[in-house]
Symmetry: C2
Subunit: 193 residues, 2 copies
């Protein structure tokens, strides 16, 4: 079992409604050595995909994404959750993303300057559940007529529909940890370990 999965088992906390809290090492406090190991996995999976850019969405995706971009030696681009004052309207692409956890709709945006039809984009995120954020990022890439080479995920809730939505859309998904179930406040990985 990978060190990452071991950390999920030892430090992850399961709450009602399939909430898995891993904020001691992934999305609040972050272990940089663990991020490097995740980045190594993403590098191995996508090193021959001629990636030109790594893309994520603020905030929890940024740490694994910057290290994956470092390994692949390409820039990282993070989508923002609202229009900041320093990006002019006509300069950005946008997509709507629903958060089931918070029951809110957020617009995610990127400056159109940083995605071109020649780009081959690897999307990285910390979690994949219903696939809302990942599909939003895929939409941004497609609006720029660029290519999605794949999606790299730290923790996949495989009992939710995110992977299926991406695969039905023709997108290759690689997840470091695939969770089959969070029933009985217990993490069960999809490979049985």
């Amino acid at each position: 079992m990978s060190i990452f999965k071991e950390r999920i088992l030892s430090e992850g906390k399961v709450y009602p409604n399939n909430v898995l809290k891993v904020d001691s090492f992934l999305n609040h406090q972050i272990d940089p050595r663990l991020m490097e190991e995740l980045a190594d996995s993403f590098y191995q999976e996508f090193k021959d995909a001629r990636v030109t850019k790594v893309m994520t969405v603020e905030a929890s995706g940024i740490a694994p994404a910057i290290l994956a971009a470092y390994k692949l030696d390409v820039p990282m681009l993070f989508a923002k959750k609202q229009k900041p004052s320093t990006i002019e309207k006509k300069e950005f692409l946008s997509a709507m993303v629903h958060s089931y956890t918070k029951d809110t709709d957020n617009r995610v945006i990127v400056s159109s300057k940083y995605l071109s039809p020649e780009d081959r984009v690897l999307i990285i995120d910390d979690f994949l559940a219903n696939g809302e954020a990942a599909m939003g990022l895929v939409s941004l890439v497609e609006q720029a007529n660029a290519t999605v080479v794949g999606v790299g995920i730290c923790v996949e809730k495989s009992f939710q529909e995110g992977r299926k939505r991406l695969e039905d859309h023709g997108v290759h998904v690689y997840s470091e940890a695939r969770i089959a179930s969070l029933d009985n406040e217990t993490v069960t990985f999809i490979d049985g370990h």
Copy 2:
């Protein structure tokens, strides 16, 4: 002149009201090699300060902070700009931060679990202007009775009061690029280069 300052001169764009846009390499699209160089500088400045944790605030601070934490071999903690549903109220520390750029007030929070009186915290952020965000992070560290060992900044607007506020509070500030002026749409560094 450092590569970082050269990138500010070659790619930074100055807008009215002292807005410096560096979103091609620092706070929207991010150059991971440049982040590593910044992290090396922060490491050199703070390597003897017995840092136990690097802290920043979402979202633009995360990339330089995770690489600084990697170099210093300590965890990174990022403050969030609102209460997420997976952190219970009594579990977090909070501080108010005013954004002059957006003219909004945001609460920044961290889980109290991840700051203890033994912690020696290096605060990292992409920009230092009026010092609102940095002072908010200092307040969070102090609420936990932990120690701020210093603040590491990528771009300091030295014509604004942030550094003075931090230094008056007894906090050591190290900035990779110190900007004396953005007058006439031109970046002038404080050391004249």
